[in-house]
């Protein structure tokens, strides 16, 4: 067995040689992360959970890409949140139910295909069809014929296309809704309503590997799970051209590492400052730390399917719990002011005109331990003498704030055991228990808006049997007001009706609003003009590289 010893020495020699050359190369590693070519922004990214299709992307990581890759009929102003016409020449209606859409001519996909009425109608039909498994299919639920292409009970679909959509000319199509919905045009800025080129339908697999859109960027290369290189599309016909040469989206295993890379000068933009670094971010980055409101609200939902939480007098207990939570202190100490105590059920990004009304919750959201205790006693006490707040323990560091909320409640009630956290191992299991109506006490509920409309903060969450009404709260009065608001063509009146509905929700305390969430980001000295929009996604096309 002579050979073995020789082999071992050979291996050692190789190792030494390797270590030596490698040590010599170390200096080169520094330049690797920076810009290759001029004007490229490098940005942190997370691995998208779903395939990148407009109607199938429902989380922020995939949403970032769609925001760069597509332009729809409308686009939300990054500052005001107003839905402005983008590809839409005009959207007309006389009855809030039948709409005629005219698409601007001259727009193209980056593969040369023209964007016309058909690009939209085909894309929407694809998104709504059950057989395509699109997770955002419910966006098309207001369009007539949705129940045929997407039967609620999962039975065989009887149509492949939405009967409410008709192409009436090269650049015009009509939309018939199944109910009055005056703000429908304002929802069309959401990515799910993006147009799709014929190439998408001809070779779906190839398109998924390298999506083609009509936005200011094109995908240069996409190594799944590690990096996507987006480059400026020079022939982009829109006015919001990219101000930089491109964006490299780098997948990070951990946002702490991304932050470290930003500190070391290897990365230009981190759009999710890790919670553990919030304390340092201001001193580390100075003006280059962004902390702006996003359209996200966190609430505590109640299981109204559980008799114990739904009986008479419980509204007092729910209101009492709300008053027992010291929102001010929790947002300051745990979230370092990246969240704002909530005083209504919407978000400040809507603005006054859009339906945000500070203080709508009134006393019910104000911290008052004595009053809280009184209310809970009047209402018959906590069901079973104790509340358990459920949350998923795997992501998002929910444990900290749930424990803080419980502490606050316990202090108010002078009872160490009045409130405890109930961690659930994985997010999937947490959602599982919610959808199967297995919650026995309040549970964390977060809502990230789909589009900046007050309707989006109320209807999907609190309307009877709505898609995200996880607590199954129901109120005929609320439903009636929402319907009226949707039918109202005058926006100010519609907003007023929605706020009346919100007051109904308040008086019954259908869910406790906790706080509005901010988007936080940090960027390097190489780049400027960085901002987050209301979806807490950076406005990539406006970033300038020095």
């Amino acid at each position: 067995m002579r050979g073995a010893t020789h082999a071992r020495w050979a291996a050692c020699a190789a190792a030494v040689a390797l270590a030596a050359t490698a040590c010599g190369d170390d200096g080169g590693g520094d330049s690797g992360g920076g810009g290759d070519g001029s004007g490229i922004v490098s940005s942190s990214w997370g691995d998208p959970q779903n395939p990148l299709e407009p109607a199938n992307t429902n989380e922020v990581q995939g949403g970032k890409v769609l925001d760069m890759l597509f332009r729809g009929l409308k686009r939300y102003d990054a500052k005001t949140g107003k839905a402005n016409d983008m590809l839409a020449e005009k959207i007309e209606t006389s009855d809030s139910q039948n709409f005629t859409v005219t698409v601007k001519s001259g727009w193209k996909f980056s593969n040369g295909e023209a964007v016309d009425a058909k690009s939209f109608v085909d894309a929407w039909n694809y998104g709504a069809s059950l057989k395509n498994n699109q997770k955002n299919a419910y966006f098309f639920g207001y369009i007539d014929g949705y129940d045929k292409t997407h039967p609620e009970d999962g039975s065989k679909q009887t149509a492949d296309t939405l009967s409410g959509l008709k192409v009436t000319g090269p650049n015009t199509f009509t939309v018939k809704l199944n109910q009055k919905f005056s703000t429908f045009p304002d929802t069309l800025g959401y990515a799910a309503f993006s147009p799709l080129p014929q190439a998408f339908f001809d070779d779906h697999a190839a398109w998924l590997n390298k999506p083609v859109g009509n936005g200011p960027y094109t995908i240069d290369s996409y190594a799944k799970g590690s990096v996507m290189k987006m480059r400026e599309w020079v022939q982009y016909p829109g006015e919001d051209k990219a101000q930089n040469g491109g964006v490299d989206l780098k997948v990070y295993t951990d946002n702490n590492t991304a932050y470290t890379d930003l500190m070391a000068g290897n990365l230009d933009l981190v759009d999710d400052v890790p919670a553990s670094q919030l304390k340092n971010a201001k001193s580390d980055l100075g003006d280059r730390y962004i902390n702006t409101p996003a359209g996200i609200i966190q609430t505590l939902a109640f299981p109204f399917y559980d008799k114990a939480w739904d009986k008479d007098g419980m509204e007092k207990v729910r209101t009492g719990l709300s008053r027992a939570i010291d929102r001010e202190q929790i947002t300051e100490t745990i979230f370092q002011k990246t969240r704002t105590p909530a005083s209504d059920w919407t978000s400040p990004v809507l603005g006054e005109a859009g339906g945000f009304k500070e203080g709508l919750c009134g006393d019910a959201c104000e911290y008052d331990p004595d009053e809280a205790k009184k209310l809970i006693e009047e209402g018959g006490g906590l069901p079973g003498g104790q509340v358990k707040i459920s949350y998923n323990a795997d992501t998002g560091s929910h444990k900290e704030w749930v424990d803080a909320v419980c502490n606050s409640v316990n202090n108010a009630l002078d009872n160490d055991k009045a409130c405890v956290g109930n961690p659930i191992g994985t997010f999937a299991d947490f959602r599982n228990q919610i959808t199967q109506s297995k919650m026995s006490g309040p549970f964390r509920a977060g809502w990230q808006m789909d589009y900046p409309l007050i309707q989006n903060f109320l209807q999907p969450l609190y309307y009877t049997n709505a898609s995200s009404n996880d607590g199954k709260w129901t109120s005929a009065e609320f439903d009636k007001l929402v319907n009226e608001a949707n039918a109202e063509t005058d926006q100010a009146k519609a907003v007023d009706l929605f706020q009346q509905a919100e007051e109904v929700l308040r008086d019954d305390m259908g869910a406790i609003p906790l706080w509005y969430q901010n988007g936080s980001a940090g960027y390097s000295q190489r780049v400027s003009n960085v901002a987050l929009n209301q979806f807490s996604v950076p406005v990539y096309n406006e970033i300038k590289v020095s």
């Binding site: 067995m1 073995a4 050692c12 190792a15 390797l18 270590a19 490698a22 040590c23 190369d25 170390d26 200096g27 590693g29 520094d30 690797g32 691995d47 998208p48 959970q49 779903n50 395939p51 429902n58 059950l130 057989k131 498994n133 699109q134 997770k135 419910y138 997407h150 039967p151 609620e152 009970d153 999962g154 998924l208 799944k224 799970g225 590690s226 780098k250 997948v251 990070y252 295993t253 951990d254 590492t257 470290t260 890379d261 070391a264 290897n266 795997d394 994985t426 997010f427 999937a428 959602r431 599982n432 228990q433 919610i434 959808t435 509920a445 809502w447 999907p460 898609s467 995200s468 996880d470």
Partner: protein, 307 residues
Amino acid sequence: MGRYVIRRLLQMIPVFFGATLLIFLMVNVMGDPIAGLCGDRQCDPATATQLRKEFGLDKPLWQQYATYMGNVFTGDFGTAFNGQEVTELMASAFPVTIRLTIVAILFEIVIGITLGVVTGLRRGRPVDTGVLLVTLVVISVPTFVTGLLLQLLLGVEWGWISPSVSPEAPFDELIVPGLVLASVSLAYVTRLTRTSIAENRRADYVRTAVAKGLPRRRVITRHLLRNSLIPVVTFIGTDIGALMGGAIVTERIFNIHGVGFQLYQGILRQNTQTVVGFVTVLVLVFLVANLLVDLLYAVLDPRIRYA
């Protein structure tokens, strides 16, 4: 020898099936993965049913397992929720982790064994005490502390290395992560070698070799070291599997898109196909490494024969 290898290979079969079945059961106990796919909102029931059908989640568990194992033998590890083939994920993740493991193992062999020999021959001297102390510190400090500290010092403060590894993950960028990953095992290898050398130094055959007048270098490498390496080789062999699977912490810290990252994502998203697929391959790696270790015994000590 041939019969021994065959017998060992046959033993692998029940281990392989048992391990995969266990993982399959464990991942499935965690609940319905589709529920988590739609974010904080509920998937609409029709789409959820459709997805469940597509991923075969509507069938009873035993049937899912049978179908899965059937597919595995044709090289089909299924599809992850983001539409990527699991084999595609493996093709991108395994080479990176293998490179990282190679770096780590080389550190263990080169530094660990060298230090072990040096201290074993100089028992009780200052060098020995010093190394013992250092290894004690290394063993007692958790990997993520070492990793984050090195990242902060070498990457941010001094700028010697890039704090994160690029997607291509070439060997030179893996040196520091490899050292971090190897650190604890490296300390064990040092201590194992040291004890073994110190023990065998008084053995008859070493005394004979010295008495024959063989040069010191030859006595140490051919006689002393070769016999002392058996426990060390066992340890390093089993460590290969442990390093590959246990790289989650190191890979997260240094942003390495390897097996650990994919496994972590798979568990977080409760993606049965990804988790079971990767673990299956890891089990195979572990089994093969163990077989190789056993075969190496005969190389190191010719007295060991396999019937």
